[in-house]
């Protein structure tokens, strides 16, 4: 440190400006605070913050302080090369000749407002230009190296704060989207349950009469075949509705001995139509020696439906999805695999795939796999993914048969020690 330079005023100003900027997480507030504090501490007449619009490659006015409406009404400034260069080098640009400098787009207006000196402070995160703060002064100022360095230091902190505020904004937006979606789903679930119960009554009438009538028809009569069809199709309706009701039930994990093959069959039944529409081949290899596990059937059904939907959407027409269930060697756990021969998942996505809000679909909530992950964990099981671009995708789930001796529950005993 240079002993002859008094850092205290710079440090105090730094401290003040940074604590004010960090006092809010809302993007709008942070932007307003930055332009205000920067102007105040540097003694500028005013400041304009322009942030880069990635789509239009233009710097758009995001916040201003001390600037007249007339001046602000001037159009957007396009990204001048010298500005981007300055951003990358983290240099403050000093503009003394307002009239002739190409970087000042409206020199007459600037003169009219009484500006005689302009400095551009680049805002960047890593090597990316995020924006520019342009400060306007009434007279020409000289800044020492230390002061210019200090100005950049503030800019770095501002960029950070802006970046974080933007992130929080985007999360808040996603959260709202999600909450709306969840509310819609919940309403849909309630409606589905209501409809299901309503339909059961007329179906009851159809089944009662058709099953009784078929006994009153001489065997071999053509009408018998028709009645049998009515009976079969009505029973099919029954299964579909039961599947719907099971699926829309609440989230309380009610564990009971469950045959996973039955759950897999139910899940496949629910998506029969999807497989058909997308012309996807489905193959199942379900263990004939499957043993029951303590599980909440409807929650596991949710997991399988989620994996199957993803698989159907991943493979092209004519593609194949396989479901395999097996019992572990020691017969203390079971394994379920959902495989597809789709394009596979790259490393970047693989790392994030179970994260909430992560989605590769434009309309996805990004919650399917996160919720599935949670459900499997609630069953003390594991869910993992094997995939490579061009080599398809395999989701592997293992669930222990009984969950009494889980190490995660050490210390919590439901039995008395003898």
């Amino acid at each position: 440190m240079n002993p002859s330079l008094d850092y205290r005023p710079l440090y105090n100003a730094f401290r003040e400006i940074i604590s004010v900027i960090n006092s809010s997480i809302r993007l709008k507030d942070v932007m307003d605070l930055v332009v205000w504090k920067y102007s105040e501490v540097l003694g500028a007449r005013g400041a304009i913050m322009r942030l880069l619009n990635i789509d239009t490659d233009e710097l758009e006015i995001s916040a201003s302080y001390g600037i007249s409406q007339a001046y602000l009404a001037k159009g957007p400034v396009s990204l001048h090369r010298t500005i981007t260069d300055a951003c990358r080098q983290k240099k403050v640009i000093l503009i003394e000749d307002i009239v002739n400098d190409p970087r000042v787009q409206y020199p007459e207006s600037a003169r009219e407002e009484g500006y005689r000196f302009i400095i551009d402070v680049p805002l960047s995160v890593a090597d990316n230009v995020v924006g520019i703060i342009r400060l306007f002064f009434s007279e020409i100022r000289r800044f020492s190296e230390a002061e210019l360095d200090w100005i950049i230091a503030i800019a770095e902190q501002c960029s950070c704060a802006l970046g974080k505020a933007r992130l929080i904004d985007s999360y808040e937006f996603k959260y709202l989207q999600l909450a709306t979606h969840a509310e819609k789903l919940s309403a849909l679930g309630r409606m589905a349950a209501g409809i299901a119960h309503e339909i059961n009554n007329p179906l009851a009438g159809i089944l009662l009469y058709s099953s009784n009538m078929i006994k009153k028809v001489p065997p071999g009569e053509p009408i018998e075949e028709g009645l049998q069809i009515i009976i079969d199709e009505t029973i099919r309706c029954r299964k579909i509705i039961q599947g719907l009701l099971d699926f829309s039930k609440g989230r309380d994990p009610r564990k009971e001995p469950t045959n996973i093959n039955e759950i897999i069959d139910k899940s496949i039944k629910i998506l029969e139509n999807e497989f058909h529409i997308h012309r996807v081949n489905l193959r199942t290899h379900l263990a004939s020696d499957m043993i029951d596990v303590m599980a909440d059937g409807s929650q596991l059904e949710q997991v399988f439906v989620n994996l199957l939907i993803n698989a159907v959407e991943a493979v092209p027409e004519g593609g194949t999805v396989e479901v395999i269930s097996s019992v572990g060697e020691s017969r203390t756990s079971i394994t379920i695999e959902v495989k597809d021969n789709g394009p596979g998942i790259g490393k970047k996505e693989r790392d994030k795939i179970f994260e909430p809000f992560f989605s590769t679909k434009s309309k996805g909530t990004g919650l399917g796999l996160a919720v599935s992950y949670g459900i499997i964990r609630n069953h003390h099981g594991e869910i993992s993914l094997q995939s490579h671009p061009g080599k398809g995708t395999r989701f592997i789930i293992t669930i222990p048969v009984s969950q009494d001796t889980d190490s995660g529950l050490a210390g919590i005993s439901t039995q008395e020690t003898p």
């Binding site: 119960h197 009851a204 009662l208």
Partner: protein
């Protein structure tokens, strides 16, 4: 064997009655909870087929109103799939009813009736 059918839908009452009478059971029907309670209070039924969604009151009110006779009769078959029901019931009540979710075939109905009227 005397059976009471409680359902607000004509088709269900009529259909079940037809099937049961063909097998020799004596069948009576009502369409509301209030009527059902009256009927059970003044008659000795062996079995009640009960729908829970009734126009005047919830079908579960029948449980409180129906006296538990000898050997747990009349038994009650609830024509619904509500599993949550069990949680709100005493152990005694839980022992006296069965589920037969709609829709059911004539065979399923007869099997349930047989099961619930044999001691």
């Amino acid at each position: 064997m005397k059976i009471l059918i409680v359902d607000d839908e004509y088709v269900i009452r009529h259909g079940c009655r037809m099937i049961l009478e063909e097998q020799g059971y004596t069948v009576e029907t009502t369409a509301t909870c209030g009527e059902a309670i009256d009927a059970v209070s003044s008659n000795a039924y062996d079995l009640v087929l009960l729908d829970l969604k009734l126009p005047d009151r919830d079908g579960t009110e029948l449980f409180k109103a129906v006296p538990r006779g000898i050997n747990g009769y009349p038994r009650i078959i609830v024509m619904s799939g509500y599993i949550n029901l069990r949680n709100n019931m005493s152990a005694v009540d839980q022992a006296r009813f069965d589920f037969l979710p709609k829709p059911f075939t004539d065979e399923e109905l007869l099997a349930a009736v047989e099961q619930n009227t044999m001691g």
